[in-house]
């Protein structure tokens, strides 16, 4: 179901299996970047370290899938996919699934959960009740 990680992103997926949501922090300018990349898009520095994130963010947008042909998802409908902006740095965006108990809404604060299925770990987001 998950396309293979590439050399740039392997550390992200490996850490996710240990239930750590991570992004690269540039050694030169100190900014975070996501998705995984071999170069900092802000200063073009090549050295970076993987760093655990807060796991908190807000919903920027979402879709509700009612019909889809993909064999991994066809029997899961309806499901809500979300675009989350992480609290750690403005503009740091990633996709995820929304916990079915959470009603989607614009700017909703959300918190990450980790879902282990088979040999894969993915993220799911739910309303942050902190």
């Amino acid at each position: 179901m998950i396309p293979h990680a590439d050399a740039d992103s392997r550390a992200f997926w490996d850490r996710l299996e240990r239930h750590e949501l991570c992004a690269q922090r540039c050694d030169d300018c100190g900014l975070l970047r996501f998705p995984a990349a071999p170069l900092c898009p802000w200063c073009r520095g090549e050295q970076a370290d993987w760093e655990a994130l807060s796991g908190r963010g807000v919903l920027r947008s979402w879709t509700v899938t009612h019909r889809v042909a993909h064999p991994g998802f066809a029997d899961r409908v309806p499901y809500v996919s979300v675009l989350v902006e992480l609290a750690d740095q403005p503009g740091l965006l990633l996709y995820g699934l929304l916990d079915p108990r959470t009603e989607p809404a614009g700017q909703l604060p959300v918190r990450v959960e980790f879902v282990d299925e088979g040999d894969r770990t993915t993220v799911r987001w739910r309303k942050d009740v902190r």
């Binding site: 179901m1 998950i2 396309p3 293979h4 990680a5 590439d6 740039d8 992103s9 997926w13 996501f34 998705p35 898009p41 920027r60 947008s61 979402w62 879709t63 509700v64 899938t65 009612h66 019909r67 889809v68 042909a69 993909h70 064999p71 998802f73 899961r76 499901y79 996919s81 979300v82 675009l83 503009g91 965006l93 990633l94 996709y95 995820g96 699934l97 614009g106 894969r120 993915t122």
Partner: protein
């Protein structure tokens, strides 16, 4: 050439051609490509042996330029372009062809796009035709089809500006009205707003009629200098300006409610020496209804955030202030990945569009996919030679 504006009107579209639009063509993409190319050459009255340039873009789903040259017995092709890429490419390719003929590198360039988009490689199915590292961030979360990517943008626009489903529906209804008048269109049954709203939700915020049509078809256009085009059979349609841009993709864009079209619009209008008020007809990339709504804003036909009320007012329908997708667009004519918008714009500027003709049309805007997913887009302004 010291001033890029010297390119304004230097090249022209001298011929256009289509195959029928079908759900199952029963022939190969190569057959579709060569039929479309021959139709464009017949339209112009040009002998195939005169063709010395060929170009296309594709997602691994079409006949390559060397196959088309071989099939047509073309021995003199000295300029060719075959780009791996999707809906953001065609107007940029038209600009590349204009450069080639204006510089004298080629004399007669034929551009085509041919695909069995329904019976062959489907874009909305279980797999993406364009693989890449980006998919690892999307597929695990059910972000599987173009409708998902555009759906995130449409939802963001709805949240920011109060855009409604009925306003998306207004795009589908207006374009269907145009398609009813177009003998090539795949969908010619009238569509009401109630039909739109009652249709099944697929990937909310999109319902069935928000989607373009998976189509088996080929289209082609012949590009030459405007001077040479005047010696051919049809009235030249001039290439007045074009612009292309690689922009931020969906995970690096700060705001999904503005597309890369907003970035290229000023450059496009400056090169062509025309502005949005000069545009008589616009063929705007409509993979989904939403892309029309965001582009009428980003190309300056209305203010940012006003796209919903603008399309709902009838401004983009035939007879409206700026008729958009006068052939029915990808939503109702068929989806040939961008090129059929150029064919329709050329028909309109020649005054050949029959019952759907926009009276006195002299300037047409044709846009590509406005930059969702990968960030890239392109557009061209066409005029009357």
């Amino acid at each position: 050439m010291t001033d890029v504006r010297a390119l304004r009107g230097a090249a022209a579209v001298a011929g256009i051609g289509w195959t029928p639009f079908r759900k199952a063509s029963g022939v190969s993409p190569l057959a579709l490509a060569v039929r479309a190319v021959r139709a464009a050459l017949d339209d112009a009255g040009l002998d195939p042996a005169e063709v010395d340039g060929l170009g296309t873009h594709h997602l691994g789903d079409t006949a390559q330029v060397h196959e088309v040259a071989k099939a047509l017995g073309l021995d003199g092709v000295g300029w060719f372009s075959e780009e791996y890429g999707g809906g953001n490419r065609f107007p940029a390719l038209l600009g590349d062809a204009a450069l080639a003929v204006a510089s004298g590198v080629a004399r007669h360039v034929v551009l085509y796009r041919a695909l069995n988009g329904r019976s062959g490689v489907r874009m909305g199915g279980a797999t993406r035709p364009m693989p890449g590292p980006d998919l690892q961030w999307q597929q695990p979360y059910g972000v599987l089809t173009p409708a998902h990517n555009y759906g995130f943008a449409a939802r963001a626009h709805m949240q920011a500006y109060g855009t409604t489903s009925a306003q998306l529906g207004a795009v589908a209804v207006a374009q269907r009205c145009a398609a009813v008048l177009n003998e090539r269109a795949m969908m010619r049954t009238p569509l009401t707003l109630d039909d739109y709203l009652e249709a099944p939700e697929i990937v909310d915020p999109f319902r069935l009629y928000d989607y373009c049509l998976e189509t088996d078809a080929g289209c082609a256009v012949l590009v030459t200098t405007t001077e040479r085009a005047r010696d051919l059979r049809r009235r030249p349609v001039t290439i007045e300006g074009w612009a292309a841009q690689l922009g931020r993709d969906d995970l690096t864009k700060p705001d999904l409610t503005t597309s890369t079209a907003a970035t290229i619009a000023p450059r496009l209008y400056a090169l062509a020496g025309r502005g949005p008020d000069d545009v008589d007809v616009a063929e705007l990339y409509d993979a989904f209804t939403f892309t029309v709504l965001v582009q009428v804003e980003d190309y300056g036909f209305c203010a940012k955030g006003e796209g919903g009320p603008f399309v709902e007012s009838g401004a983009t329908a035939l007879g409206g202030r700026i008729p958009v997708n006068t052939h029915g667009g990808f939503l109702s004519e068929g989806y040939v990945h961008g090129i059929n918008h150029v064919c329709e714009a050329v028909s309109q500027l020649r005054g050949d569009a029959g019952a759907r003709q926009v009276p006195g049309a002299e300037t047409a805007l044709v846009s590509a996919q406005p930059g969702y997913l990968t960030g890239g887009t392109s557009a061209v302004l066409l005029g009357v030679g």
